[in-house]
Symmetry: C2
Subunit: 66 residues, 2 copies
DNA sequence: TGTAAATGTTAAATATTTATTACAAAATGT
DNA sequence: ACATTTTGTAATAAATATTTAACATTTACA
């Protein structure tokens, strides 16, 4: 799973902490998610996509074989 | 979180077991997910959306307050 | 250059998802 | 009505996500 959280954060000028607060998760959740260290729940994906006004598919991409 | 997995399964004429095999999870995962008992990972959501040719947003909906 | 803000990283604890097995209940088709 | 398939449900264990806290590193900027 790849994601474009960092890019969307930049577009919307939000820090990891800003984003974390907006979707009610810890900053580390944002940080490690951004780093691709785990796959978030669909609830988080939907919340972020909604906030950034993009689709879940634009924000998260399965990689080959996944 | 609500979802339309059961409806999409009906449209595509797949049993829970069929769907489970196609996206490489257990049948119980499909069953309990369909029943709304938990929120799946974004990876599963993307795989199902891709299989059904719908967006993740069409397949899963956050409920009020979520 | 110094200071604060932002990010990266780690470790431990908790919560949640997923698999497995098994069985009961319901639906389907003949 | 009977047999078969499909679905619901439950218990347990494993894997994975998420939180919290603490500290190190990097970045921004006065």
């Amino acid at each position: 799973m790849k994601n474009k959280i960092k890019i969307q954060r930049a577009i919307h000028n939000l820090t990891q902490d800003d984003l974390a607060r907006k979707i009610s998760v810890s900053r580390q959740t944002i940080n490690t998610m951004e780093a691709g260290k785990y796959v978030p729940s669909t609830a988080l994906a939907l919340k972020m996509a909604r906030l950034f006004e993009v689709s879940v598919e634009e924000l998260f991409q399965l990689e080959e074989g996944e």
